[in-house]
Amino acid sequence: MLKINQLHKSYPIGDSSLHVLKGIDLSVDEGEMVAIMGSSGSGKSTLLNIIGMLDEADTGDYILDGLPIKNLTEKKAAVYRNKFLGFIFQSFNLINYKNAIENVALPLYYQGIKRKERIEKAKFHLEKVGLLDWADHLPKELSGGQKQRVAIARALAANPKLLLADEPTGALDTKTSHEIMAFIQSLNDEGKTILMVTHEEDIANMCKRIVRLRDGVIMEDKKVTQVRAEQYV
């Protein structure tokens, strides 16, 4: 599904540069649910951004679903992002003047899908996250958990191969976090590959594999027994 080989990334800071990723090797198979952990500054967000094609590595290979991701133009990156990836952010990043269903339909708009079909698909995904009744509500009229569920529906709308989540529960209380995690787990049960960055141990344990980063290198990469989130809900 995803193969990363000797990935390096550094950021220029003034005259010197900060070496953030120092040779990452990582491969993720289809249907996996991986948590990337690490303290702040360990490079976990940078790694996720590179995987998400929002950022580009300096050196090293990154192959997504058999497709080498290298020297992409902005346009091509946009098309790949749209086709292969679904993003879930800590702060939801819904567009605040669009209602729930329009937010979900947005990636489909950029795929050039007709409005009617878009709304159909968006409805289907909203129903999946249990918010069909809230379709006409603006983000500000939704609770944090609901917003994140709309964001998840949006990430799913384009039927991506890989779901990338950046601290998906970071802005939520424990109870809501568990609800969201339960939902993400159910997506994984259906076969979606999920990669998430978190610094919360209990959230990480709800994944099937934990990759720990420190100072730009992988310290530990182990499979764990998944803790089901339903039991807390």
Binding site: L54, E74, A78, I95, K98, E102, P107, Y109, A158
Partner: protein
């Protein structure tokens, strides 16, 4: 691109993002709206003033100089200085034949008379005129006709009088045409009544009789009081004046450098000064209007730039969801063009309304200060076109700004 513009989704996106902050969109539009409103209002009123001006002077051949005889200031060929000079019909003919660019020369005689009808009397200025006068200074006849060639040929005792003279000599509502008026003891038949306009060129005359009748009755012979020389439109009236005067000095045995022998009033020159003022005003109008428009367009660019900064995150999200830089740019440019276009059209409509109101308030009646205040439709379209072009150009700045930020930076948590 055309398909993109015709799609409902495109406009949905634009209305969404503009409607999100109505105040900002409206403020943005006010700049352009105001600019085009000013342009149209100013151009329209400048045109209105010009029209009023033209209407006022339209009945006059403005490319005209009046010349009359005075007394010489230099001795010449045996003549003493201080000799009275009077013009003659042959002078007029000579000028018409020999001075380049002359269209007409109209000789005129004038004197003050007293007129009587029944028990009413009044004193007036009376001129002996040719029918040509009606061409050079259109008389607004309310009744009857002006002097014609027949009157000249037969030396008829007919008079065309002003409304004022009629009011002094006739009872109210009395019929005047065909009636007789006694002028310095001789009866004249009234053939026309004219209205006195606002503007008089030359001395005011309330009565006009045929030139030949005047000649005979007052024993003028070949002498004339003064003449009006009208130049063809493409000739400089100042040059004509100088040439005519030189010729007159030559014909009348006057020293070539004698500047006082002939008096003149150059109407064409005075008129030119006034039209020069109008041209200056038009230029100023364009300048102010276009400068305001440009300021308005920059206001749009500025506000869009702020908007883009505000929307950095939104743009980042859109790009994470798969919007290409082109799609982002396109949306921002279309937003800019849409704003300028709507504001421009609104400005044109309100500008038009203002012109209508102006016409209603100041444009009514024959003595209106502003006549038919209007802007030609081609000017409006060109202004709109320039506006849209500037709008898209200025829209490109925030558009490039928007896509120059990497999506990752846009999405980074504050």
């Amino acid at each position: 691109m055309l398909k993109f513009l015709l799609e409902r989704d495109t406009w949905q996106e634009i209305f969404d993002s503009l409607g999100k902050n109505k105040l900002r969109s409206i403020l943005t539009m006010v700049g352009v709206w105001w600019g085009i409103l000013l342009l149209i209002g100013l151009l329209g009123s400048a045109r209105g003033l010009e029209n009023a001006f033209n209407r006022l002077f339209g009945d006059f051949a403005t490319n005209t100089v009046f010349v009359w005889g005075q007394s010489t200031s230099k001795a010449f060929r045996g003549f003493q200085e201080g000799r009275q000079v009077s013009l003659s019909l042959s002078d007029a003919k000579n000028i018409e034949a020999n001075v380049e660019g002359v269209e007409f020369v109209l000789p005129r005689n004038q004197r003050s008379i007293s007129a009587t009808r029944n028990f009413l009397t009044g004193s007036f200025q009376m001129a002996g005129d040719y029918p040509l006068l009606d061409q050079l200074q259109k008389k607004k006849l309310i009744h009857g006709r002006f002097i014609n060639q027949n009157d000249i040929d037969d030396r008829k005792k007919v008079v065309v009088m002003s409304e004022d003279a009629y009011q002094q000599l006739f009872e109210k509502d009395e019929k005047a045409i065909g009636e007789y008026v006694e002028i310095n003891g001789i009866n004249f038949k009234v053939i026309g009544l004219f209205e006195v306009g606002n503007i008089n060129m030359g001395p005011r005359t309330d009565m006009h009789i045929p030139f030949t009748t005047f000649q005979q009755i007052y024993n003028r012979g070949d002498k004339i009081g003064w003449m009006m020389i009208t130049g063809r439109p493409q000739f400089d009236i100042k040059q004509i004046e100088a040439d005519a005067k030189l010729l007159l000095r030559n014909l009348n045995n006057i020293h070539p450098d004698d500047q006082r022998a002939f008096g003149s009033f150059n109407l064409g020159n005075e008129f030119k000064k006034m039209t020069g003022f109008l041209v200056g005003m038009q230029f100023l109008t364009w300048f102010v209007g276009i400068a305001t428009l440009i300021a308005g367009v920059f206001a749009i660019g500025n506000i869009l730039l702020i908007t883009v900064k505000e929307r950095t995150k939104e743009i980042g999200v859109r790009r994470a969801l798969g919007a290409t830089p082109y799609e982002i740019k396109r949306q921002i440019v279309v937003e800019a063009v849409f704003l300028t276009l709507v504001a421009g059209v609104l400005g044109i409509v309100t500008g038009g309304l203002i012109l209508i109101i102006m016409d209603y308030l100041f444009g009514q009646g024959p003595e209106a200060a502003i006549v038919n205040a209007s802007v030609s439709i081609s000017v409006v379209f060109v202004a709109l076109l320039i506006l849209v072009a500037l709008g898209s150009l200025i829209g490109l700045i925030p558009a490039f700004k928007a896509t120059s930020i990497k999506p990752i930076e846009a999405l980074r948590e504050e």
